[in-house]
């Protein structure tokens, strides 16, 4: 299986085109991005996709930032194939969407030119979380089918399974799977990402701590200075008093809660001063390390409802974008943030303008429940059009399916077998 990549493509909307683009995206969403003109269901390894518009804004010094169209995708590698398919398979939709942007190559021209245009507008993520690293779309779909087949098998009349013989029940199930040619793959472990990629990740796993170790004298000397400067900056921050308008809330809610999961995107300015910029860079650097090597299987620091998430610095580190796909409602998502990963939210978003005040980077912030929820809603960007390859599966469902498949291999004690049967 390939590894997963977070692709962000951002292009400046041509002057005056925002209303037309917005209307066009809403229309496209009504038909669903799985169907033509996007045909996203035919793109190989595409888990999720979102289109949204970042309205024109001004930075802290009042310099204008023009409106832009953002396309984010979560896709199985390689990116080269993905870009080619975006233009080749989804071309009609991509042409129409990015046709509202400045300088998009005229439709009907060479596809290589359009791929190059998109590639030039790709923005690097500071960090990108994958629920389970290396679990590709094909595997997710196969394992969902496996579970359904086993559930139907269990429901077939005529079974008489003794409650005290779980090992025998499991053996029966394995025999059934082995006898189904379409499920034979389930008895083998899922393929892993390519060796070369894994080697590079291993080098990163070891290299970063070595680098930090080598720099530790300087870091240790600088740390107290930085902490004091940060604390001084924090004490200057006011409370987050802005409340989202009813119109903004209605707009956001109108595209939420249709299925098992929701798309999420927030964007905002980074606070003034080099201390904040440095802090944000350092936090993203460590976040990148953590999501690549620590939170690699179905659990982001206690939150098990996130499929993908990315932190993207924009406009030369003047702004940041956070985008994710999560299970449940925005209320439950926010509550998870507050109750489980407040410290992580504070460390990253605490550097953003309008966020409730933090103390020593990690404390306060999200624990001001109402201010935090308002602040996220105020900075949340409506996602008018988005795509999911598995609208009814939660991240926990996907993980459970993988455990069912894993449990088909090897020997088990009666207690282990009973626990595995409990997954069904």
């Amino acid at each position: 299986m390939p590894h997963q990549v977070a692709v962000t493509i951002r292009a400046t909307v041509a002057p005056g085109q925002v209303p037309a683009l917005r209307a066009w995206l809403a229309d496209a969403a009504r038909d669903g991005l799985a169907e033509p003109p996007f045909d996203f269901a035919r793109l190989r390894g595409l888990h999720f996709a979102k289109f949204f518009i970042l309205d024109d804004a001004a930075d802290l010094d009042g310099a204008p930032i023009p409106a832009s169209l953002v396309l984010t995708t979560e896709v199985d590698a390689p990116v080269r194939r993905h870009l080619a398919e975006l233009v080749g398979i989804a071309g009609a939709g991509i042409d129409a969407a990015f046709g509202h942007c400045t300088g998009y190559p005229p439709a009907g021209g060479w596809s290589r030119r359009r791929v190059r245009w998109l590639r030039r507008r790709m923005v690097r993520s500071g960090a990108a979380y994958v629920n389970t690293v290396g679990r590709g779309l094909e595997q997710i779909r196969q394992e969902a089918r496996l579970r359904e087949a086993l559930q139907d098998y269990l429901d077939q009349p005529g079974h008489d399974w003794p409650a005290d013989r779980p090992v025998q029940v499991r053996a029966d199930i394995r025999t059934y799977v082995a006898g189904r040619p379409d499920l034979g793959w389930a008895l083998r472990p899922p393929p892993r990402p390519r060796l070369l990629w894994r080697a590079a990740e291993l080098a990163h796993l070891i290299g970063v701590p070595l680098l930090i170790l080598a720099l530790s004298p300087a870091l240790l000397a600088g740390l107290p200075v930085w902490a004091v400067l940060l604390r001084i900056a924090e004490r200057r921050d006011g409370r987050a008093t802005e409340r989202p308008t009813p119109e903004h809330l209605r707009e956001l809610a109108s595209t939420e809660d249709f299925g098992a999961h929701n798309p999420f995107a927030v964007a905002g300015l980074i606070k003034r001063g080099w201390v904040r910029r440095l802090t944000f860079r350092a936090v993203l650097f460590l976040t990148d390390y953590a999501v690549r090597h620590v939170y690699t299987r179905a659990n982001l620091a206690g939150v098990k409802t996130i499929h993908f998430a990315r932190w993207v610095p924009l406009d030369g580190w003047r702004r940041m974008l956070f985008a994710s796909n999560y299970d449940g409602s925005v209320e439950s998502y926010n509550d998870d943030f507050i109750d489980k990963v407040w410290w992580g939210l504070n460390a990253a978003f605490g550097n953003g303008l309008g966020y409730p005040p933090t103390r020593w980077l990690f404390f306060g912030g999200a624990r001001y429940e109402q201010e935090f929820k308002y602040s996220l809603r105020v900075h949340q960007v409506q996602v008018p059009a988005w795509y999911t390859a598995y609208p009814e599966l939660t991240a926990q469902n996907i993980e459970n399916n993988a455990r069912i498949r894993d449990g088909l291999r090897g020997d088990m004690s009666p207690a282990q077998a009973q626990r595995w049967l409990g997954l069904l």
Binding site: Q151, L154, D155, W161, P162, A163, D164, R165, P166, V169, R243, P244, P246, L249, R250, A253, S254, E256, D257, F258, A260, G302, K304, D327, G328, S329, E331, S332, D335, I338, D339, K340, R367, Y368, E369, Q370, E392, T394, Q396, N397, N400, Q418, L421, G422, L424
Partner: protein, 467 residues
């Protein structure tokens, strides 16, 4: 903890469900114009029951919708500082998706409170020791309404309080113990008063957001003062959720009976009750399955001091998706199931339930579900969406609450974990439908006085001032 609440300024329903007043009737009304709305409230005010010591033979409460607050003359800019869900209203389409009010429960078909039914300003909740006392109070209420040109929009009768709800189960056992309110404090976990009464610290130790007015808006200092000396219109108030939930008793009985027939096709009453109990999570007596897994045990009828995780992590006794385990998962869920960390998160999603059963003239039976909450989104809507109607609750796939859930159109699923393999029940019909409902605000007594004395507003008939 141990916060001191201003009980004389809090409406009594927050402190008690009026168990000693078995007769009740809820009357939704609308007033023709602001002056009339205020005149009506002024007439009602002397009869409004507060939360202090109580021994009378009747009680009366009043709560308002966002439209009703506007009708009283509260400016739109102030109304917008109430909770967004309250201002939007229960029948708004985005709320309907969150609440599962779709298909047969769509507000378009509601008897009251929906887009097709007349707008509601507020609701009077009348309670009495017996039917004749209730009738006398109703006559007084009708006089007040008639004298102010106000109209009854919905008249919600309730059944005399009984031991069981229509499906045959004892209800209302698990209520949060509220700091500063509950007599039984000291036994079990105490939930912060601010979770149910505005103006006090909530479960995060912070006051929940509420309408604070600019000082000039309250020149006579009718309202309690909030932070920075601002008049606090929310203090001692609470959000009130009312929903008419029709229960299809026949369908529930048929389903559980058909699913448990013996091989020869005959009904098996004991197995039927056992399946119904699996769906509910308690036996008809109220005994929790987690303590009485195999048969009903009336000695455990009122038992509420238990957890799920340690005795039953897999749901073998009480299924993970059972109704009461969804309504109040206790220590079942992340973070760290079985610990205080799990209970702490659970405590942020509690409801103070005050519902009463009903039967209409046409034979429809069900529950006038009524609950109080300080934060509609985090408490009532969260429970409704993330716990009851969530197909993926607690690691499930495609099953909502077996008893009250809005199932997949093709029919619901219910899984009862068992050894060696689970038992799966398919094709559950929807047993409970929403027939009406609304979000209300139950103001403190001073806030009611303030609203009754508001200046201004106009005299246009009601149909033109609704937004």
């Amino acid at each position: 903890m141990a916060v001191t609440l201003d009980l004389d300024d809090i409406q009594g329903l927050v402190a008690r469900g009026y168990g000693q007043l078995p007769a009740a009737r809820f009357t939704a009304f609308t007033a023709p114009h602001p002056a009339a709305a205020r005149a009506l409230l002024s007439r009602l005010l002397p009869g409004i029951t507060a939360a202090g010591p109580f021994s009378a033979d009747s009680a009366c409460q009043v709560a308002y919708t966002a439209a009703g607050l506007r009708r009283l003359g509260l400016p739109q800019s102030t109304v917008d500082t109430f909770a967004a869900e309250f201002v939007a209203g229960m029948a708004e389409p985005n709320r309907s998706r969150i609440l599962g009010d779709v298909g047969g429960s769509d507000p378009g078909g509601w008897a009251w409170g929906g887009p097709q039914s007349p707008p509601i300003d507020g609701i009077v909740l009348g309670y009495a020791a017996d039917g004749s006392t209730l009738l006398r109070r109703q006559v007084e209420l009708r006089e007040h309404l008639a004298a102010t040109g106000s109209r009854v929009v919905a008249d919600l009768d309730t059944l005399e309080l009984a031991d069981a709800e229509p499906f045959g189960f004892r209800d209302g056992i698990s209520q949060p113990i509220v700091d500063g309110l509950s007599k039984s404090a000291g036994a079990g976990r105490v939930v912060a008063a601010g979770e149910f009464v505005l103006g006090y610290p909530n479960a995060y130790g912070q006051p929940t957001d509420r309408p604070l007015l600019p000082a000039p808006a309250d020149p006579h200092r009718t309202l309690p003062r909030g932070p920075d000396g601002r008049p606090d219109l929310g203090r001692n108030g609470s959000y009130l959720v009312l929903r008419q939930l029709a229960q299809d008793v026949g369908a529930f009985r048929r389903y559980t009976e058909d699913a448990t027939r013996r091989p020869d096709g005959s009904a098996d009453p004991a197995a039927r009750v056992a399946l119904a109990a699996k769906m509910v999570g308690r036996w008809p007596s109220g005994a929790p399955l987690v303590l009485a897994p195999d048969r009903d045990d009336p000695r455990l009828a009122g038992e509420n001091d238990f957890g799920y995780h340690h005795p039953d992590p897999l749901g073998l006794a009480c299924p993970l998706g059972a109704h009461v385990r969804r309504m109040n998962p206790r220590d079942s869920l992340d973070p760290r199931p079985g610990t205080d960390a799990s209970l702490d998160v659970n405590d942020r999603h509690r409801l103070l339930r005050r519902g009463r059963s009903y039967r209409t003239g046409t034979g429809e039976t069900g529950l006038h579900f009524l609950c109080l909450a300080g934060n509609l989104a985090r408490q009532f809507e969260f429970v409704q969406h993330t716990w009851l109607n969530n197909p993926a609750f607690h690691g499930r796939y495609d099953e909502t609450d077996p008893l009250v859930g809005g199932h997949h159109p093709a029919g619901g699923t219910f899984t009862a974990p068992a050894h060696p393999v689970r038992r799966r029940y398919r094709d559950l019909p929807r047993f409970v439908q929403t027939r009406g409902g609304g979000y209300f605000f139950l103001p403190g007594i001073s806030a009611l006085r303030y609203l009754a004395a508001l200046p201004g507003g106009d005299d246009r008939p009601s149909s033109t001032v609704t937004r």
